[in-house]
């Protein structure tokens, strides 16, 4: 062992904390354990995994429903658009016939 080792040993020596930690530690031990809503999952990883799978499955189901609704809405809008186009053509024909009959009457 050389002086460098001794210097390091002295620099990194153990030190007492500025205040005794005993009272603080014992007070925290005496406190009732705080249980959060998630604490149950801490000790039951399988339950947590099952809950996560259920939530995921429910989310996927909801998303699929939403997509199906969106598709149905798109199809209805498309059908209404076609109908409107057809009605416009019919209206055009009626107008044309009306014009002709007026001209013929004169």
């Amino acid at each position: 062992m050389n002086d460098f080792d001794n210097d390091l040993r002295r620099t990194l020596r153990r030190r007492q904390p500025p205040r005794d930690l005993t009272a603080g530690v014992m007070a925290r031990i005496a406190q009732p354990a705080k249980r959060s809503i998630f604490a149950v999952f801490h000790w039951r990883p399988l339950l947590a995994a099952a809950a996560a799978v259920l939530i995921l499955a429910a989310g996927i189901g909801q998303y699929r429903e939403y997509r199906r609704g969106q598709e149905a809405k798109r199809q209805v809008m498309f059908a209404l658009e076609i109908t409107a186009q057809k009605l416009a053509v019919v209206q055009e024909k009626i107008d044309e016939l009306n014009q002709r009959s007026i001209a013929h009457d004169r």
């Binding site: 210097d7 390091l8 040993r9 904390p17 930690l21 925290r28």
Partner: protein, 172 residues
């Protein structure tokens, strides 16, 4: 039950310097070191049914303090931190030696990579053998030996360049 608590309080009193110093020598933050020390003792209390002896308890405390300190060091890596000069010196018995050299060595140790720093702390604060350090950190003994060898070479070289004198045998 009361006797158990008294025994545990005595254990806290007798081992707090070890646990606190591991965290302080690694982080140089008094409040954090205190918090880590308290957490280590709480963790030990929760695990008491699995603890077989006082030596086991000491080993457990050392492991928890080491890993908490390393985690905290990682967390703080991206946060601004006070310089070592701002860190208040913890209460310690009067020492024989050069306080300037102490400060310089502490700064040099602090400049080492995190794992190397903890290896040096465990070797020189706790006087652990490489095998014990390896077990505490969960790494191979060979890694501890080579890391320690390299770290000490770096520290010697940096101290030498700082002082402008040969580093082996620093103290007079």
């Amino acid at each position: 039950m009361k006797a158990d608590l008294e025994a545990f309080a005595a254990l806290v009193r007798s081992r707090q310097a070890m646990v606190y110093s591991i965290a302080w020598n690694y982080l140089h933050d008094t409040a954090l070191a205190e918090e880590i020390a308290q957490e280590a003792f709480l963790e030990l209390h929760r695990s008491l049914p699995r603890i077989e002896s006082e030596a086991h308890a000491v080993h457990f405390l050392r492991r928890v303090a080491v890993h908490r300190a390393i985690d905290e060091g990682r967390r703080r890596r991206w946060q601004s931190r006070a310089g070592l000069e701002d860190a208040p010196e913890p209460v310690a018995p009067a020492t024989v030696g050069d306080p300037l050299l102490d400060g310089a060595l502490r700064r040099l140790v602090d400049s080492l990579p995190s794992r190397s720093r903890m290896i040096v702390v465990l070797r020189y604060q706790e006087d652990l053998e490489p095998g014990e350090i390896a077990e505490t950190l969960g790494i191979p003994v060979g890694t501890v030996k080579s890391n320690l060898h390299r770290s000490l070479a770096v520290l010697r070289k940096r101290l030498q360049s700082r002082d402008g004198k040969p580093a082996v045998g620093v103290s007079k």
